[in-house]
Symmetry: C2
């Protein structure tokens, strides 16, 4: 008998029929003698509908009230999921985030989980219930309802798995698992059996879109082994866990392309202490997330500084730099769209040489120019022309023998 | 400065525009220097939509999960109402029933309020907030979400008014107040300035439909003075309170007709102890609510027994009596639809004579036959042919000078 946490996303519980499918799956696990805790999201479309309603009464609704409103989405799903299980003869009880003992800080719409008191969950499991917990939500110390922000339901599942010491945590989604590359782009892409937290983190932040980084970070911190799998079939999915020695034998775990990038170059920035700080402080104050930053050694006391941001953030970034470029003594600046970031990720990189060379060779063979390069311990990223992105991913995927 | 509780029903908060109207009204009261606690129902249609969803996953959903589901309706409205107030520059905070300190028993879908701890409401009021409380819901001692059943939001408002010792409790609805008769039937019907709890109770149970009896009973028990008024205009409404000496001068407060009645007569029932008990126990076991019961003195040890039930319950009642009539020694039974119950209500009746005579005269003058008569301390009810109901109400209304 295992204690299992399963998380089902909004698409998996998108209508009554799908909720029944989820219930049938849960029932199977239960009948195999397992104890099951189910975390569910709001039915797909519900959260957007609530946001629309809110906007109709206030253009910029208060965060606390937004949480009060949005929390009803998951509360609806847990009740329906419990009912569906009852309909199949399975004992089940639903719990809101607060009832499940999920205590967060008081930062509405993006709360952090402070602690979990799973007493009630344990009691209900002991009585033979499947426990259905509302994802994405909790309550702060004062009892205000909070939500965890993007990817919050994954976080709920992983945090609960840690708190109740689950044997297994399954993240059900609409993809089969984590692939060596986006299967829509690379036909030879292969589903990974397993991947380390760090690799998953690099991929999560790279547009693999399977999960938000914070959930993976949380899992890494509390050593929660979890699998990513599809709620539409019985394929085994990908297991995400601490790295093993065996994992290091694989140099590159996967290759991804983030097509949602834009580039800002500030030319001839005086190369002296405090200039970079000033620029990026201003960018941060405008709530723009900077991804890559590249600065080369300076010639004659000046240097070009380039950074990338999400395409949507480019107007905000442009505004900041427009105001600041002259001020810091730069000669000018340029904003470029139409770029993509290609990355190869793998913990094996640490103990293998020549990865960068192989990557550059693969691109050169395709006559694809590299605009920027940035490396971390387990990742190499290059900025290339957006038009070449898919071709580049295929070439690199093949070069590293990922198929 | 007064402390006011205002309750707005589902129609009053039926869409974002109406929620803004409610907010505008609340703002006015607030700007006059009052402290305001607002109780809201689910937006009209929302509860029905949720029930429909539930039925799609389970034909007979569990009561606890139904409460979990339905409670989201009011939670949505409180958040939107708070946002609308913010939009008008009014400080406001929403609270679920549980957060507002409303503790109920554990009887899901028809919980009773056990106690209210209004500490949080007082704190929020003190900080200058309008406090928006979700009607219809609470939580039991163990923290399970409960709902109060039909008319639950009125009950929330009145119970809160009692708990926080409000100076005024206003029940906003889609009618202007309590009338001497249904204005759609009697053109001369007049809105009452005030009415006693007992009179309101008799009217509430008579199809006046303004409020459920339990809310009025609660108000009577805790001496909560409240007014019933429209959220669509600024008319003053009707004040419901303890009877005053002045009220007794008015013999009849109002006249109503309940057209939703059916009649069951059991003929020649043996007139001996235990027979009536047996019949009405069986009826109660079938969850049929009996309204009037009439039994006359017996002749030759047998008597006819007649009772009325809601029209919808007639098939169930028929089934019970079919099985039971022979068993108790009756010679037969008859079920009749097409009847109406006309009632006159007034606490003045207690100290005035001749009310029954006046009522019967009014009907006789219209050649309307009386099929059954039943009286209580402050009410006389007669069963008449449904076809004559409207004409009868007009005649009686005129006879007692209610116009």
């Amino acid at each position: 008998m295992s204690l299992i946490v399963q998380k089902y996303g909004g698409t998996s519980v998108g209508n009554p029929g799908r909720i029944k499918n989820v219930a049938a799956r849960v029932k199977r696990f239960r009948e195999e003698g397992n104890q099951v805790v189910v975390v569910v999201s709001a039915m797909s479309g519900v959260t957007d509908g609530l946001i629309k309603l809110a906007r109709e009464v206030h253009a910029a609704p208060d965060d606390r009230e937004m949480d009060m409103l949005l929390a009803t989405g998951e509360q609806t799903t847990i009740a329906l999921t419990a009912m569906a299980l009852h309909g199949m003869g399975v004992k089940a009880v639903s719990l809101t985030g607060a009832q499940a003992g999920i205590v967060t800080d008081g930062v509405h719409t993006k709360a952090k989980i402070a602690n979990i008191t799973p007493k009630r969950i344990h009691e209900l499991l002991k009585e033979g219930n499947v426990v259905i917990v509302a994802g994405f939500q909790g309550a702060d110390e004062a009892g205000h309802i909070t939500t965890l922000g993007r990817g919050g339901s994954d976080l709920t599942a992983i945090a609960l798995a840690a708190a109740i010491k689950a044997d297994l945590c399954e993240i059900y989604t609409d993809v089969d698992g984590v692939y060596t590359a986006d299967p829509r782009v690379v036909k030879a892409a292969r589903k990974l059996e397993e991947i380390s937290y760090d690799e998953m983190l690099e991929l999560a932040s790279l547009g693999a879109k399977v999960m938000q980084s914070r959930s993976v970070e949380f899992a890494k911190k509390f050593k929660v082994v979890f699998s990513v799998r599809s709620s539409m079939n019985d394929n085994p999915g990908t297991i995400v866990k601490e790295e093993t020695r065996k994992m290091e034998d694989v140099v590159i775990r996967g290759v991804s392309a983030d097509k949602n990038q834009a580039k800002v170059t500030i030319t001839q920035v005086p190369d002296k202490p405090g200039v970079a700080a000033r620029i990026f402080k201003a960018i941060a104050d405008a709530h723009v997330n900077v991804d890559m930053i590249v600065q080369n050694v300076s010639a004659s006391g000046h240097t070009d500084m380039t950074f990338t941001v999400g395409k949507d953030d480019l107007p905000k970034a442009r505004k900041v730099i427009e105001a600041l470029a002259k001020e810091v003594g730069a000669t000018g600046f340029a904003c470029t769209e139409g770029i993509a970031k290609l990355s190869v990720v793998g913990i094996g990189m640490r103990s293998h040489t020549g990865v960068a060379a192989d990557l550059f060779e693969a691109l050169a063979a395709e006559k694809i120019n590299i605009q920027m390069i940035s490396t971390s311990e387990i990742k190499i990223s290059v900025i290339i022309d957006l038009a070449h992105a898919d071709r580049a991913v295929n070439a690199v995927h093949k070069k590293f023998g990922l198929g």
